[in-house]
Each structure stands twice: as C-alpha cells, then as structure tokens.
C-alpha cells in the first residue's frame, strides 16, 4: 500500500505555482512560438524571424525589430501578470493587443531557459538577461539593434512527463509552422521568416498586401486565383445603452432580429469583413486553407468555417474545402477573447449575425465570378508548350505549401480532379456562361456548344441536375414551408420496407419543402398526395411520363444512398439528381437547346449540386496553341 499522503494543506512555493500555471499556457513548443510572436507583434515589429531546432524542443528563437523593453524593466517582464498592455479591468472589454494576461514570458521562463536581448529605440545599448528556473539570473549590457530577441532553450527539460507527451519533432515543427502561417496571414504588413534546423520554410515579404502573404504561405497560383472580398455591414440594433464603448455592465443578450430604428451614424457599430477567398474551382482536402482573423487576431472558429463553406454550398464536392482568408473587424465589445488562455477561441456576442454576414459575403463574391474549369493542358498535349512559353511560374520555396515542405512531401496533395487543374487553367467569367451555339451531343452524354472564346463541353446530367436544383431551391425559398407541388387526382397508397418508411417519416419536412405531400400510415406505408411541381413540370415539358409512385420510391432510394450532402439540401439535391436526364440518354436537338438555354440562365452554372463540374471550357487560344497557330 502506498504511504498515506501528508494531509496538511500548504501554500505552494511560488516557483511550483508558476510551473503549474505555465502548463495552462505552454503545453508544447508551438505555444512558446505563439506567445513570443504575439509579443513581437504587440511590440509593433515590422520584421519577425523565427528559428527553431528539433521541432522547437531544443531551441526557439524569435527576433523582432519592435519597440523593445526598457532596460530597467527587464526583471519585471518575467513576473507573472506583468504586462504593458492592460492597466485596469475595464480595458479588457476593448483590447487591441494580442496579449494582455501578462503570463507569457513568466510561463515560458518557468519551463525553460531563456536568453533575452532587448533594446528600445531610445536606449543607447541593448540589455541582455539570462533567465533560469524562472529567475532573472544575470543582466548586462550588450550590443544589438533595436528590438527584442527571445531565445528559448531546453524546453521542458526539467519536466520529463511533459516532454514525453510531445509528438515527433516533425509534427511539432508543423504546429509551429501553422502558428507562423496564421500570423503571416493576419499581419501581412509584417515580414516573417521561419527557419527550422537551418532550412528556410517560409519568407513573407511584409508590405501589407495579403496576396503576397498568401503566396508566401500557400503558392503563387493560389494567391493569383483568389477573389477579393470586402463588405461593411451595420450590426443589428442594440439598445442605446449598448452603444457606449464601455458597456461592461450590460451583458444582456443582444436581440438577433433587425430593427427599423436608425442611429446616428457615428454610433452605429459596424462589422467589416475583408479578405481573399478562392473560386469554387479551388478546393482542398482539408480545412487548413481556411484562415480566420478577428480584430487582428488569428482565431479558430469551427462555426465560422461552416459559414464560409455554406457560401460554397453546392459548388464544392462534399469532403472538399475552400480556400479562404477572412479578416473580421468589429467593435471590441462585440467579442470575448478571454475564454481560454491560448486565446485561439473567441465568443461573439451575436454569433448568428456574424455567421450570416460571413456566409452572405462569400456568396456575393462567388455569385459575381462563377468559374468554369478548363481541362488540364495535358489533355491537349500542351504541357510542354506551356513550360516553354511560360518559364517557371514560381521558383521560391513558397511555390510549395509550407506544410508540405515541412513534411518533405514531393507530391502535392492529391486533388479531386487532377485532370482539371483549375489552379492554373480556370477561367473566370463575370457573366457566367456565354450564349452558346449548340453543336450537338457526344456519346449521348455530353453536349457541345460554341462561343467566341472557344467551345464548351457540358455534362448533360450534371447540367440538368443544376437547373432542376435551382428551380427547386427557388420555389422552396418562395414558399418557405411547402415547395410548389402538383397534387394527384387520387392519393396513392405506397407500401414501403420498414427502413424506407422510417426514412420517409424522418425526412418528411424536407420532402414537404421540395413539394412532396404524403402522410405515413400504420405499418410501413405512406399515402402520397402530391408530387414536386418542378419534377412533374419538367417531365411533362419533355414529353415524358410522370409516374408518381415510382418517382417517390426512386427518390427514397437516392436519398438513402446519397450521403454526399447532409441537411435539408439532401432531399433537394437527390430530387434533382433523380429527375435529371441520365448519361446515355439521347436527346432531341430541341431538348439539347433547351438544356443549354436553361444552363445559361442558371445562377451558378458551373457545378452540379454535388459539386461535380457541369462545364468544361476549351479555350480558343489553347486550341490555337495546340495546333501551332500562334
């Protein structure tokens, strides 16, 4: 049996207390990097260099050209809750600096050995200090340029337990890289350089252009393709007392609904969203290409990522994610950052509103520039031509994604459509599809149309699916509760398997919203009363029979097996998919024309609701090049 613990309660010695508290802030090398980067940015640095060794476990050095720490305060800087960023509790509501807890340096020093060199603009010389076991051991004058260098070594060396929990040097390096990526994108005016074990992994030029930062972080191709997003919007109405900046006492929930009450302009709180988002043709297999910055702070917000993705709804295949860098600016009192010591999460006072604005902003930008992929040049055998005519697009390390560089990966992440490498060949069309002259149908599957800028191949199923989907959605928006429907002359009793009956009753609201009308009855049957008008009307227009029972059964089958889309769109998308002409259906010329015309009128003609492309564009110029005409 273990010896009974001493049951007396004792106040911990300060050093131990500091080490425990440090654990909250400093759990792995990336936390060190983050805290030091934030300090550098708060010190108004224009250039920040991060150097790490062995994933930051052996060494993390952050050097900035910021304002520095006055030489007489260097000891205070390592005291817990010592900060220059916060003077009184009220300031918490309107913080503009990244840090404010005054814990960073103290926490880092509690778990490592720190050398600090700092010099303010006014000081003649720099001051250098060594911190050991949390105590400032030696302070002396040194020669250095203005700014601060913090050199952290032997992280967790006296904490073997924590050391054991660290992952491989490679994954710690990745985590640090992520921190630097976030900062580089949040502060495009700051030049960043990141070096790991003597290898430069990132170099962002600073200068303030977000696109440059994106190029440094991702690639030149991605940076060039991004669309600019910028939106100002008034926050929803708040009680007048809320409009004062120091609203600390009022923490009522703000009403979500808009109000007609107008305020004098200087008092109206605004939300501003700036940034760059990728066209729908640019998508990735993970969410690492989405970055959020709120009031100058890189943050994580799964909810807002969902908002961005909703903007791409129906444009990007399920399981794929867009590229986006969004900076959201709103009054400080509208957000609460002080939720977690790591400060990566935050709470919006009115999250639903922010969510809606983000989604709307993304939608607006995408709607203004639909893109249509053109086949990879290889398809036309243009690859060599391209290389000779367009010498190496990008040669810097930034040509490859930094994370891939870290992993030493020699191949880019496999993309959904490698053949349709839209990163380099996407064509943006402000006006959507041009008016196409129908040339015919290929293989009973594709339509081919001609426009002045080349020819277009259209997947007839995907295109028809998109057209029907938009009609279903339009009717759904118009009626909110019930989609347009075509009632049956006489209700039809349909017997279903138990699984299908359960599915039908579970999704009944979604079914109703697209125009079905039925009721589940005892056992495993439904009484079908009406069918979606869109489908019925489309069948009738095309001179096809409309079989209500079969359509209902098919729709259930499709919904059951279609897990590419979730939520209420699932029924709408599967309805469109079911009703659309199939690949292999030979279409009459009039029907082909009608399909093209309808696609030209579609809001987002370039993708089917499941995200597959509907249209490929073969550029007239590429064609001319392929034939050696230019």
């Amino acid at each position: 049996m273990v010896t009974a613990p001493d049951s007396r309660i004792a106040v911990l010695p300060p050093a131990i207390a500091a080490q425990i508290a440090a654990g909250e802030v400093i759990g792995r090398p990336a936390n060190v990097a983050k805290e030091l980067l934030e300090n550098a940015i708060d010190a108004r640095a224009t250039r920040i260099e991060v150097l790490i060794e062995n994933g930051g476990i052996d060494r993390i050095r952050v050097r900035d050209d910021g304002i520095g720490i006055p030489s007489d305060q260097i000891t205070d800087a390592f005291e817990r809750h010592a900060t220059s960023k916060l003077r009184q509790a009220e300031d918490l509501a309107s913080l503009t600096t990244l840090g404010f807890r005054g814990e960073a340096l103290a926490s880092i020093a509690a778990v490592s050995e720190v050398d600090i060199t700092t010099r303010t603009q006014d000081d003649e010389a720099a001051v250098e200090a060594k911190v050991h076991d949390g105590q400032v051991r030696r302070v002396r004058a040194a020669a250095a340029a203005p700014g601060t260098t913090v050199d952290v070594r032997q992280l967790f060396v006296s904490f073997p337990a924590r050391l054991r929990f660290l992952r491989t040097a490679k994954s710690e390096t990745q985590a640090i890289a992520q921190v630097i990526i976030d900062s580089a994108l949040a502060y495009p005016m700051v030049a960043f350089r990141f070096e790991s074990d003597g290898r430069e992994l990132l170099s962002a030029p600073g200068g303030g252009d977000l696109r440059d930062a994106v190029q440094a972080v991702h690639s030149r191709e991605v940076a060039q393709e991004l669309l600019t997003l910028s939106l100002d919007e008034r926050l929803p109405h708040h009680p007048v007392s809320d409009l004062k900046v120091d609203v600390g006492e009022d923490d009522r929930d703000s009403p979500d609904h808009d109000s007609d009450i107008t305020h004098s302009s200087e008092l109206v709180p605004m939300i501003r969203i700036d940034g760059l988002i990728g066209p729908a043709s640019l998508h990735r297999g993970n969410r690492r290409y989405m970055h959020l910055i709120v009031n100058g702070r890189p943050i994580k917000s799964p909810a807002l990522l969902v908002a961005i993705e909703q903007g791409y709804r129906g444009l990007i295949a399920a399981g794929r994610h867009p590229v986006a860098i969004l900076e959201i600016t709103l009054p400080g009192e509208q957000v609460d950052i002080n939720i977690h010591p790591a400060k990566t999460e935050l709470r919006f006072r009115n999250e639903r509103f922010v969510f809606a604005v983000v989604r709307r902003a993304v939608l607006a930008v995408l709607a203004a520039s639909p893109t249509i992929p053109t086949p990879n040049a290889d398809w036309l055998g243009l690859n060599e031509l391209r290389q000779t005519t367009k010498p190496s697009a990008s040669k810097s390390t930034s040509g490859r994604h930094i994370l891939e560089a870290v992993q030493g990966a020699s191949h880019p992440t496999p993309e959904l459509n490698q053949n349709f490498d839209s990163e380099t060949f996407a064509l943006s069309l402000r006006e959507g599809l041009p008016a196409l002259r129908l040339l015919g149908q290929i293989g009973g599957t594709y339509l081919i149309g001609e426009a002045p800028d080349g020819f277009y191949l259209i997947d007839q199923h995907a295109a028809h699916e998109r057209i029907l989907y938009e009609r279903i959605e339009a009717q759904r928006d118009a009626t909110a509760a019930n989609g347009y429907s075509q009632p049956l002359l006489e209700p039809v009793l349909i017997e279903l398997s138990p699984a299908k009956a359960t599915l039908a009753s579970a999704l009944s609201e979604d079914f109703v919203s697209v125009g079905w009308s039925f009721e589940s009855i005892d056992g495993n049957a439904v009484i079908l009363r009406a069918v979606p008008q869109t489908l019925h009307g489309d069948s009738i227009r095309r001179g096809r029979a409309f079989d209500a029972e079969r359509t209902f059964r098919d729709q259930l089958d499709v919904v059951e097996s279609d897990d590419r889309i979730t939520g209420p769109d699932r029924v709408a998308a599967s309805l469109a998919c079911h009703a659309a002409v199939r690949a292999g259906d030979v279409l009459a010329t009039s029907e082909q024309k009608a399909l093209l015309a309808a696609l030209e009128n579609a809001k987002t003609p370039q993708n089917c609701p499941h995200g597959r492309p509907t249209v490929l564009h073969i550029n007239a110029k590429a064609l001319a090049r392929a034939f050696g005409r230019t």
Partner: protein, 376 residues
Amino acid sequence: MRVSCKQEDLHRGLSAVARAIPARSTLPITQHILFEASEGSVLLSATDAETIAITYRISADVTEPGAITMPSRLLADFVATLPHESIKLTLAERSRQVSLSCARNTASIGGLDPDDFPPIPPVDEAGRIEIEAHRLRKAITQTVFAAATEDSRPVLTGVHFAIADREIRLAAADGFRLSVHNLTLDQDGEERSVIVPARSLGELGRLLQEVEGAVTLTFNAAGTQVEFDLGHAKLVAQLLQGTFPNYDQLIPKETTTRTEVAVQELARETRIASIFARDGSGIVRLIGTPSSTGPGRLQINARAEEVGDNEGEIDAVIDGDEAKIAFNGRYLMDVLQIIDSDRAIIETSSPSSPGVLRPVGDDSFVHVVMPMFVQW
C-alpha cells in the same frame, strides 16, 4: 404468287399496318409484314405479337395466289417513292425472293416463310357492338390523351370502356387528370367493363380517319381481346387486365365558380403563356374576375424566372366568386385542343380543388384536371 395492284393502295395499306410494328423487338419476323394474295385482294398484316395486330385489305389483280412476309420498313420506303402506277409482285414457287416492278423500276426483296408469322387470333363473338366511326373517333380523341404513357399502375395506360344499357363510357386518367366521354348506342350492349391500351386506341383513331359508316367492336369470350372491324381494316388489341379506378367520385359534384370562355381565345392565351412558362416548369395561372355590369374577364399569366412574364386577358362569363387557379400549361392545352365546341366552361372552387372543363352544349364530355399548389 403473281399480283398487280395500284401503288397508292399498297402505299396506304403498308402505312396503316406499319403502325403495329414494334420499335424494338427480339423477334425479327415482327419487323415484317405478312402479304397474302387471294382472289381480287391482298391482305396486309402486321403485329407486335403481344398487344396489337392490324390487318388491311387492298384490292388487287391476283393471277396466282400466294403468301410471303417482307421487311416492312424496306418495302414501305420503296413503295412510297414509286410513281402512281401499278406495281407487279411475283414470287416463284418455293422461293422467298419477291420481285417487284413498277414503271421502269425493278427490285428484289427477300422475305420469310409466311407460316412463321405470328398468328393473329380470331376474335370469337362474345359481344358485338356497332358504332358510327366518326363518333367513336371523337370519343377516342377526347380520352386517349389523358391516359398515362407508362405507370406503376398499368391500367392507367389504357382507356376504360364501360358498356351498360345503351351507352359506352370511355375514361382515361394519368394520375393528374381525368377525361370521360359518354357514347350513346343505337342498340343495347351487353354489360361489360374492359380496358383497351391507349396506344392501340391511338392507332385506331388514325385508321378511323378514312372510314365512313359503322365500326364493329367484338370482344372475345375470355375477355382478353377486342377487335375493331372497320371493313377493309381490322385492329385487334389485347386488353389490359386489372381494375380501373372508380373515377365517378373524382368528378366534383358542386363547384363555386363557373367561367365560360371562348375555347379558341383561351387556347391562344394559354399557348402564349406556355412560352413564358417553359422555364418555370409550365405553370400557367388563371384569375377570373366577375363583373356585375358587363362580361367578366379571365387573366392568363405565366412567368419565367429572371427572364420575363406574360399576362393575357380574355372576356369570360363568370358565375360565382373570383377564381384563382394554376394549371400545367400542357394539360390545359391538351384539353382545349380536343374540345370541338366554340365555348367551354371551367368549373372551379378553390386554388387547390380540381378544375372541371366541359364543352358548352355538349354533355358527352367532361375533363377533370388537378391544379398546382403555387405561391400566388
């Protein structure tokens, strides 16, 4: 076999029977017509071996009787392009190669053994009814369009014939609309309820165009077939088995608004609206406004999302409340096209209750069509 006939006669006969030939078949001989020459005439036959058979007799100068089959398409296309002169067909004993000559054209067509041709069953006389051809034709025209072309319930792909007393009621429904036509008979018919495939009736309607006088309907005892005897032509149809829905309950007994309009005017406005309704899946809205002073008016409108809209107006005699109802433009056109009266009445009760159309002054026909639930 040695036959001589007029090009026009053979052409007409081949066109008539070719309608029975299936578009696709696993039985090659069903792509052939059977050519049987007997004294003074040639009998042409075609069948899909399942649901329909058509025979057509043309007069001919037969010097040596005989029989052969010939590929329908080849023969029909060849004959169609020949001049209006006499065609001579000869087939040597035990040969399958038919020689044809017309004017200065000669051809040779390979046929098959006539004994292999699917037999066209004789329809024994279990019941026999005579109807004037033009009246039967109108009854078919007014019902067959409302039948389903294919459906989970196969009975809906047919037209229901209910024979009782001195009347045949023809009815067809496709799940969204119902057409009923009452045909009075000169003699008592044996009470009977059968479903004739709409496709066969469509072909019959075509054949009836050139018939004057009476048509004889004969049902077989087993209740599986019906024969329409047009004199020179016969059509045998396999009946659909099953129970036709009880449609009487689907015809509203009372409605709140009766709107009387000129059929041609409404058809014209519907046609115009349908152009605009094309993108909107065919939604055509009708709004009837009664007037106490003069005639009321009926507005017909349609809109195509983000493209445009259209609104037409015609005079209407409206008895009852203001009426709003939306129909599929195609459904409306279909029924307006087969009403042969100048004026028609639309009976409605609400935007969600069935609409009823009847010709003015002709109570043999009634049509019920389901409106759409749309946003007004």
